[in-house]
């Protein structure tokens, strides 16, 4: 009678801790990406193939510079990490997405650097609680980091 309850509590505890750890690891990965790209120069956030962005994602996800390296968080891929760019809009007194244009943030067209970078997971990161005999819906973790862009 008591044993199943104890096991449920123990499994629940372990799973909650796993979710916390996964979220912490994801948060750390996104922080690393934001810090890396947020302090470099000539990063073109409008170019999906930008080398600096690719290096930052690889480094954050694998802890090294080998794109084929094992991810620190299972199944996390560079494509999952979304980097948004924002600028302060004085007219609305708020942050707005920086367009990929010559007057925006597309360096390839002559645009200039954004004010902020926002790093998040495109569709979140699903984690399924693994408790025996109980089927839970996946929990979607959605960490996000906004950092001022301190590059040129």
């Amino acid at each position: 009678m008591l044993l199943p309850l104890l096991f449920l509590l123990l499994f629940g505890m372990v799973e909650l801790a796993r979710i916390s750890y996964t979220y912490y690891a994801l948060n750390k990965i996104l922080t690393t990406v934001a810090s890396y790209v947020g302090s470099r120069q000539a990063v073109n956030f409008c170019d999906d193939g930008d080398a600096t962005v690719a290096i930052a994602k690889t480094f954050a996800i694998t802890g090294g510079n080998d794109p084929a390296g094992a991810p620190l968080v299972p199944n996390l891929e560079p494509a999952n990490i979304r980097i948004g760019i924002e600028r302060y809009d004085a007219a609305s007194d708020s942050l707005a997405a920086c367009e990929c244009s010559v007057t925006g943030c597309d360096l390839a067209q002559g645009g200039t650097a954004p004010g902020y970078v926002v790093v998040s997971l495109a569709d979140g990161y699903p984690v399924r609680l693994a408790v025996p005999f109980v089927n839970f819906e996946p929990i979607i973790l959605r960490p996000q980091i906004r950092m001022p862009y301190a590059g040129t």
Binding site: A17, T31, S94, V102, R146, A150
Partner: protein, 412 residues
């Protein structure tokens, strides 16, 4: 017997679960608050440019780092709660950002270490403190955590770094020191208006502009990029450099100047005789870029710049184009602030060695709020401001200097 064991073990189990789950959550929330505080402090530090308005701008910038109006931003508790908002049960507060003139005062825990909280133009460092309640799941079931929440606080400090040895995105205008032995200001006097005029040879030497103390000759250092594919025409490159400083480039040699490095004069910006009363087209094209900091509509003389119509839309004009006698009163977006290399001596044919970087505020032409090109030798008035505005990009290593502009960095 079994019930007795359960009664005894239940609090122990809850404490263990609290340790595993609640402490983990507290740790996680602390991490999220630290990220947010870092972003806020850095945002604030980037705005500390030595003007009376700078702390006001910095406070607003700090709050933008946790703004969530568009659904994005730094949050806490699994990114579910907005920092600075009260959910009814959980409270989060953003303390007023504090400003300090020294890093030690900003980092210090007490009221004052070697300086005290300041405001306005004296502020060089920002301290951000965030507080939030962390919810307790298991600890809340024992008397220890009867409130079912516990306060967490995080603090970050950011400010101007040590002087940079490599400065990126700055202007390519080289001037010589007025006093080489003055390592702080190179003989320039803060708050003094000078006439920066392009170097020329022979007599008569152009006069200083009205309301300026003396004429300081300048040269354009060669940052022509023959490999450029975007705005590749040299006239466009000069306009871009004049308009926004050296364009971003993955090559540090293209986008930056380094102390003790040597540079030649921009080849097509050669020096003319003063008696000719003019400058090369290259100097004019660069001047057109400087003008664009005041007015987005290029004057007729600038139509010779390739793609000038597109280039003139890239940067906004300065939001304060007023003629100022006191830099602290400046309220603009820093488009008029230029950071220039100070070189050992101006030389038209030999290499010039960069000694340091210093900053000026370009003033509008006398009696106007624009920069006119109707003066010989591409002269323009500029107020020397020292090195108060943080640069966006650069490195500290590679030289030994005690004064000069730094960049905004996290200190703690």
């Amino acid at each position: 017997m079994a019930i007795q064991v359960v009664v005894i073990l239940t609090p122990v189990l809850l404490v263990l679960m609290g340790l595993a789950v609640d402490l983990g959550r507290i740790y996680l929330i602390k991490g999220e608050l630290k990220n947010a505080a870092n972003a806020m402090a850095l945002s604030a530090a980037l705005e500390l440019g030595g003007t009376d308005q700078s702390t006001e701008l910095a406070t607003a910038a700090a709050l933008r780092a946790v703004e969530t109006a568009n659904g994005l931003g730094n949050k806490y508790d699994f990114a579910g709660l907005t920092i600075g908002q009260d959910t009814g049960f959980l409270t989060s507060t953003i303390e007023d950002t504090q400003y300090f003139d020294t890093a030690s005062a900003a980092i210090g825990e007490g009221e004052d270490i070697s300086g005290s909280a300041v405001s306005g133009s004296a502020a060089r460092h920002a301290r951000v403190t965030l507080r939030a309640d962390a919810p307790l799941l298991f600890f809340g079931l024992i008397p220890l955590g009867f409130e079912r929440k516990t306060p967490v606080a995080m603090r970050s400090v950011a400010g101007m770094s040590a002087p940079l040895c490599t400065a990126c995105g700055i202007e390519a205008i080289a001037i010589a020191p007025l006093a080489a032995d003055d390592t702080v200001d190179f003989g320039f006097v803060r708050g003094t208006r000078y006439t920066l005029g392009y170097q020329c040879t022979g007599a008569p030497v152009p006069a200083a502009l009205a309301n300026t103390s003396q004429r300081i000759p300048y040269l354009l250092l060669d940052k022509n990029n023959p490999e450029a594919t975007l705005f590749a025409d040299e006239s466009s490159q000069l306009y871009r450099v004049g308009s926004g400083g050296l364009p971003a480039n993955s090559s540090e040699a293209r986008a930056c100047f380094q102390i003790n490095s040597t540079h030649l004069l921009w080849a097509s910006a050669s020096v003319l005789a003063c008696s000719a009363g003019g400058v090369q087209n290259s100097v004019r094209n660069h001047f057109c870029g400087l003008q664009s900091r005041f007015d987005s509509v290029p004057i007729e003389a600038c139509n010779a710049v390739a793609e000038v119509g597109t280039l003139s839309t890239v940067f906004p004009v300065d939001s304060d184009v007023n003629d100022l006698d006191d830099y602290a009163a400046y309220t603009g977006n820093r488009r008029r602030v230029i950071t220039v290399p100070i070189v050992d001596a101006l030389a038209a044919t030999t290499e010039m060695t960069v000694l340091g970087f210093r900053q000026f505020l370009i003033e509008p032409s006398n009696g106007t709020n624009v920069l006119n090109f109707d003066t010989p030798n591409a002269r323009f008035p500029a107020m020397y401001i020292g090195s108060v505005v943080p640069l966006k990009q650069g490195r500290f290593s590679g030289c030994s200097i005690s004064s000069g502009p730094g960049r905004a960095v996290l200190l703690r």
